[in-house]
Amino acid sequence: MLQKMVKIQVLGPKKDLHNVLDLLYARGTVHIEDASVPTAPGEISLKRMTAEQVGDIAIAHSKIGGILLTLPKSVYDEKAVAYSYSNLQAISHEDLLVKANSVINELETATKALAKEKSELELALINLGRYEKIIEKIRPLETSMPKLEGFEVTVLLIQKEFKDIIDIIRNTLTEITKRQFELLSAELDENTIAAVTIFNKRYSDQVHSYFFSQNVNEVRLPPEYLGKPFNEIFALIEKKKDQSTGEISKLNAELGKISSKWYIELTALHRILGERTDELSIFSKIGQTEYTFVLAGWIPKKSLRETRDALIDTFAGRVIVNELILTPDEMAEAPTFYDNPRFVKPFEFLMRVVSPAKSTEFDPSPVMAIFLPLFFGIMVGDMGYGLIILVFALIMKWKFADRDWLQHLMNILIIGAIWTIFFGWLYGEILGDMGEHMGWIEPQTLFGVSWNRIDAMVPFLILSVAIGVFHVILGLVLGIVNSYTEMSCKRHVDKAKKHICEKTGMIIVIIGLILVIAGMVLALPAALVTTGAILVIVAIPLIFIGGGAFGMFEIMGTVSNILSYSRIMAIGMASVILAAVANKLGGMMEVALVGVIIAVLLHTLNLVLAMFSPFLHSLRLHLVEFDSKFYEGGGKMYKPFKKENGEKPT
């Protein structure tokens, strides 16, 4: 369940601010909000506090970030970083700044210079590629030109639609160079023609100024390649490329050297400076007047008293804690604080991953804690598998004691495994039908049905759909409850009323439909069928009022949601059949050992599928079919002002 939150205002003399913050930090119960924003219109907004050192630390932080960006990531050793970090943690603010700045002084210029040189080389390399492309295209043209001393080669690029200009150029060149030239042209690509001319250097200026005024472009090459034959240029470019690549790798090595020496310390410094900046940034949320400070925040109702008493005791009444009386609209802004019994925690984790609940709505995690493992158990339902999963989960828990998310998942698996064993007993399954074959166990009989899954397929399907009906109706009821609480919130009244209307209608439709269908299949008295039909007819206007035309589609959606629960039976069937196949194949083998190996392999496969698929589909049933009936999510998490432990850089 979610804890009820209250908003408080802490007021006190400015000189006590630091101590108040220290106390709150140590308590770790208050989720601090910006106090300088007026909560109601007409209220004066307060000036914000500014922390003195926040600037310096932020600058050092981002400078170190900049250095880290230029360095290649060297062997990242979380342990070493953590060690270095904890060492740094012990130093005071001032010393930390001094240390950070000395590191910056030592590294900044060097890394900047190296990075700059490297990026220049890289840019040059890209351009060499561009030049190479054109040279490669023109090279064949040039080979057909005579090579003459004292003559200059110029390559022109001409748009195809101006190809007539070539003749004009030829004529003009004849005039300028007194026939001492050669001009060859060839198509370069679909739009351009390349023309290579060779002429006496004497006329260079005249020729170039003539070209300058025409609709032609000269091929431009970097100055160091001017006047060289293209083949030679090509070779030169290749050489230059190799050279640059070599230099780049040399620079990389140099950066790598710096990195291997400093990376760990820099990472630790960066992390701690980041934390300090965050910590100091809390100041910008605190409002101030000339002599007092005002701090606003949310606190769980159950810790309010304790925190208030602590503040009042410590500061001898100089600090006041006001509990603000909020309208439901304002309450909707409260952060979400999950506070569930231990066995629900793993499911709370799942919900948080998807989208945290809003503080005002019903938290589905407890319901999930009941049904998700139950569904899992119904689907897998095998004593053998259940035991193996249990052992597996326990081993994983023990092996990866430090991974929070894995712990949560394994806890879910353990609860699921217990249900699996129970349902295995019910179905009479140990490693599929092996238990029954060996005579270890018999399917139990309940409600006149022997729950052997392969035989009792239809009852199973009916059971699954029944679970679906129950689950979906539960979801709808929760939806009504949520909408009812929402009605206290003014801006949502209309929406909430409509939701209630729609959801009630939906429940009635479901019941009506069931009556109709059940009546027809089981030949129930006609009165029941008629009642069902009447219920449906009554409910449809309700849905229409609540959800409009779209609501009508929702009926279809809801029905298919219910049918979707048939997956409980289907996945279970798939699992049991695969297990049976494994046993059968294993049994068919002549050599016992081969049979056992095949059986073990198939059972393992089935087991892996069994852990994954039923879990996923139970989760899906909750998130898609169940939650969509009432859950909105999108709340902001309660983040009390305290040290975040175990926080890892993302």
Partner: protein, 72 residues
């Protein structure tokens, strides 16, 4: 003569469901890969989303088994 109608019908029911699931999952999988590339924290949600079209093959399986069991 053996009546092939029932197994073929069951096969079609299951096969088409599986095919449809495959098509849907390929798109969702690609999109999921894209999303995870940008936001690794979405991994869990993506797995669930990829599982959603499995409804089709599961319903196909249910129908197929019903055909096989109820009509034989």
């Amino acid at each position: 003569m053996v009546d092939f109608g029932i197994p073929i019908g069951a096969g079609i029911a299951f096969g088409l469901g599986a095919l449809a699931t495959g098509i849907a999952q390929s798109k969702i999988g690609a999109a999921g890969a894209g999303t995870i590339a940008e936001k690794p924290e979405m991994f869990g949600l993506m797995i669930i989303l990829v599982a959603i079209p499995e409804t089709l093959v599961i319903l196909g399986f249910v129908v197929a088994s019903m055909i096989m069991i109820m009509l034989v």
